[in-house]
Structure formats: C-alpha cells, structure tokens
Amino acid sequence: MTSVVPELLIEEQRPPAAVHPARRRRLTFARVCLHVVLATTALVWLLPLLWAVYTSLRPYAETARKGYVSWPDGLTLQNYSDAFTQGELPRFFFNTLIIVVPALLVTLLLSSMAAFVLSRFAFRFNLLILLILTAGNLLPPQVIITPLFQIFRLVALPTFMNSDGTLLNSYWGVFIVHVAFQVGFCTFVLSNYMKMIPHELTDAALVDGASVWRQYFSIILPLCRPPLAALATLQFTWMYNDFFWALVLMVSGEKRPITSALDNLRGTFFTDNNLIAAASVLIALPTIAVYVFLQKHFVRGLTVGATKG
C-alpha cells in the first residue's frame, strides 16, 4: 500500500537496459515469435470492434442480399444517421452529459476535501472513516439497490427538480448515487497522494496565518493535479459506463443516460445488425477518445486505484 504514490510517479522511469548487439541478434528468432504472438493477440482483440465498424458501414440491403461475411460493393454512413434518429441517441447522450459532468466535479471536490482532512489532521477515527468510504465503493451495487429504490421512491423532490416529485426517476437521484459511491475510491487515492506532500508546506502557511480552507485550496489542491487528472479520466469512463444505477433508478426509458439506454435500444434496433453496429461505434467513441488522448492519465489512475482494488 505504501507503494501507491511512488507508483504514480514511476511512469517508465526504468533506465533502458544496455543491450549487447550480439545478444540482440541471437534473440532474433525468439523476438520474431514474440511479435507474431503479440500481433495475433492484438488483432484478435481488435476483431470485435473492427467487425462492428465494418458492419456499420455497409448498407442494410446489401448485407441482406450477400450476407454479412462478404466483400462490400459500397460503403455508407447512412446507418449512423439512422441510428442517430431512430434510436434518438442525442437525447440519451444529453442525459449522460447532465448526470456525468456534475457528478464528476462534485465527486472530485468532495473527495479532495475529505482526503485533505484525513491526510493533514490526525483524528482517532481516520482509519475507520477511510475504511467505510473505501469498502462502500467495493460493494456490488445490487447489495444496496432494494432499499435504495424504496428510499428514492419515498423521498419527495420539489417539482422544479423532478416533475414526478420524487428522487426516483430523477437526474438528481442518479447523480447523488454516483457521488456517494465513487467518493470513497477518490478519497483513498487522493489521501495517499496528499500524505506524500511534506507537512512543512502547510505548517509554513499556518504560521503565515493561512486558514485551513486556504491551505487546502491554494497549497494542497494545486499540487494534486496529477492524481486529479488521473481520477477525472477514470471516473468519467466509469460514470459514462454505468448501466445498473440508471437502469433501476430511472424508471422511464427516455430519461436514461446512453449506456443504460442500451436496454431500450436493443428492442428498437431488434434484428438490424447494421444499426446495432453503428450505435455501438457511436457509444464507444467518447470513452475510446478519452482513453486514446489521455492514455497516460487513464492507466495511471487505474493502476494506482488497483493498488487498492
């Protein structure tokens, strides 16, 4: 566990091993085998996605006539626009947006405050609180869904927040459950990072009369940019990918975010594999884009988090 933060920083620092030219040549055959094995694996791994892209680009009439495993006569983007309109994808993407963005920001804000307190001040119950927060994040969501559903059904919201008047079936409900569930993980990662920041920094500020808020906001938080970036990319992906919470807590289908909407879309597209493929590609794009552009942060967040689970 002590290795958590150092691992944040390793990031390919291993010095390149001195390679003897002779040794390198002798290994050539083994290296070729290695490349063949890895390239084959990588191709097999990409196959389902490539297949989805290929299927999505073919006109339905042509695949109906020639079968799916066939050379294309022509490729088209028609399936994409059909998936967009028939599946009402913009609506679902919008639902995701208004749940995930606030949930992400609030989670990071709350967890960085909690981590600040836990790492800077020694209370008797620090460890217990950390345990409660972290263990909560590891529970399967299904364990708590039954009472949560009933609580949400009974909690009244003013109608300007949700026209149904309850926390159930509202954006607020899914938002709050994301925050409550993810705050533990982020607190854990951030508090480990903050423990590595020398106490002298905040002590000096304290002597200069800086309040606790100021220490948090102007000293600690700016230093935590790397773990915050890692957590932001990771949490975006996790919240975007949530299927279960919104499936149960959003009773009406049209208010579901995109991933949970897959359950309705399955019925909408039914047997049209070309549309299923086009929708899959569209829904995969945001997380793939985040991963490709922020790969470093993403893997960092995952492996740091993994040191915990």
Binding site: L38, T55, L110, N126, L139, I145, Q150, N241, T271
Partner: protein, 277 residues
C-alpha cells in the same frame, strides 16, 4: 469538509446495506412506506434455499464466472503482461489494442458481441458455417458470455500486472540473469514472488467483478434461460414482474456477506500496512 462525503457514503451506501438486512426478515410487496413490511423471521432464507429454483443455478453461474476469470482470463492477462514487458518495438500498440475493451462498458460489450453471436447474421456462424444459437442455447450461453467478459478482463489484469512488473527492481533480475537463470526461472524465482501485492489486488478485483457481473447478461437476454446470476435475481425482485422486497433483500444479504468476506480482510490488511496513517 470530511462530514459531507462521509455522510453521503453512510446514508446512501451503508444505511441501505443494513436496511437490506432488516428487510430480508420481512415480507413486503413494495407498496406504501417501510412500515408496510411485515416481519417473517428467516422465512425468506428458507424459501431461497428450498423453494426458489433459480437460486442454486445462479450461485453456480457466479462461481463459474469467478472460476473462468481466475483460472483462464487472469493467467492470460499475466502472460501478456510478461510478454509485453520485454523491450520490443510496438509494445505500445499491442498494449493499446488489448486494453481497448477495458474502457467499454460491459453493457456495450454485450451489444457489440451480438454482432458476432447472432445465429443468422452473426460473424461466427457465418465464418464457420455453423448453426449454433450462442446466446439462446442455455447449455452454452454462459460460456459465450464468459468469452465476451474475458475479452475485457484480460486487458484489465494485463495493465495491472504490467505496472506491477515495472515496479520490480531491474537490478534483481539482472543479477539473477547474471547467475545464469533462464527467463522462466527469473520470472518464477524473482519477478513473481515480488508481485505479491499485485496478486492480491488482481484477486480482489477478479472476485468483486464476478460478484458484480450483471450488465453483460442483462443486455444479452435479461439474465434468463441459463444466464441467471445472483445480481439479476435481486434486481428481478424490484423491477421485474413480481415485487418481493423482502425476498430480494435476502439474496442481497447473501451477496453482501460474501462481498464483505473479501473486502474487509483485504482493506484491513492494506490500510494497516500503511505506516503513514
């Protein structure tokens, strides 16, 4: 500053967890307030064990899920990590390709794999001229789901092991190689023993993921006909045809106990080892 996050976690995670336990001793059809729940003692648990056909298959499916993750997907991930750790050209590309499914949700993975599994239009049957109902046939569909789930799990395990292996002191390995150990020996005697923490992490992730499994089977066929899992049975009792709150809670408590049996010892050990706290 600490109060709000702690309160949120307690109110929305731990209070419901305890309520699950309380509700599991009652019978309630979910109409009205919590006071409508009537105590029935351990009746729900007795029913589950003796008079609820999907329970034992679901438990068995969860165990098969765990077993295949543990004994098939995880070793493949470890093997790939070891291979990718060698200094070869293009390792970044290979890593990206194998890791890509990890950023996709299991629900979307279920959606994508339909394109391969569907009986008439699917890639697999057309490619091999087969006539297998990969999802509809209850004797094989669990394995079809496992392949799709492993597609993601292998990449996940790989990236964690890769980080673990990179953290092993290279001097140790060089010393072993100097002493004439071959690659397999270096791995077995030097690298693997120093991966202890990583192994525990991978084990915990694998168990948790197997207990949580839900999205994939729900998208494939709503978790029926051979794809029953404990998580599905719980959900069926809230949003399914019959709302049996007490009954669903009892299954949830069983899942909770198994989960805490893994989580608490792990965290207790992990947090205690941390000297700075």
């Amino acid at each position: 500053m600490l109060g709000i996050p702690a309160a949120l976690s307690i109110l929305l995670v731990w209070v419901p967890a305890f309520m699950s336990a309380a509700l599991s001793l009652t019978t309630w059809n979910g109409v009205g307030g919590f006071s409508a729940a009537e105590p029935v003692g351990a009746e729900n648990y007795r029913q589950i064990a003796t008079n609820y056909p999907p329970f034992w298959p679901a438990l068995q499916h969860n165990l098969i899920w765990l077993g295949s993750f543990l004994f098939i997907a995880t070793p493949i991930g470890l093997l790939l990590a070891v291979l990718l750790d060698k200094e070869i050209r293009g390792t970044r590309i290979y890593q990206t390709a194998i890791f890509l499914p990890v950023v996709l949700s299991l629900a979307l993975i279920g959606f994508i794999w339909q394109l391969l599994y569907s009986p008439e239009q699917g890639l697999i049957n057309n490619l091999f001229n087969a006539d297998v109902d990969w999802i509809g046939d209850s004797s094989i569909n669990l394995w079809s789901a496992m392949v799709a789930a492993s597609w993601r799990h292998v990449g996940y395990v790989m990236v964690i092991y890769l980080a673990g292996i990179k953290a092993v002191d290279p001097a140790l390995r060089e010393a072993a190689a100097m002493d004439g150990a071959n690659e397999l020996q270096v791995f077995r005697q030097v690298v693997f023993p120093s991966l202890r923490t990583t192994n525990v992490v991978v084990l915990v992730i694998t168990i948790i993921e197997s207990l949580r499994a839900f999205d994939l089977v729900y998208v494939l066929n709503h978790g029926r006909n051979g794809l029953e899992l404990l998580s599905v049975l719980i959900t069926e009792n809230i949003i399914g045809e019959a709302t049996r709150i007490g009954f669903g809670s009892a299954i949830a408590v069983i899942l909770l106990m198994v989960s805490l049996g893994v989580i608490i010892p792990y965290l207790a050990q992990a947090l205690r080892k941390d000297p700075t706290s």
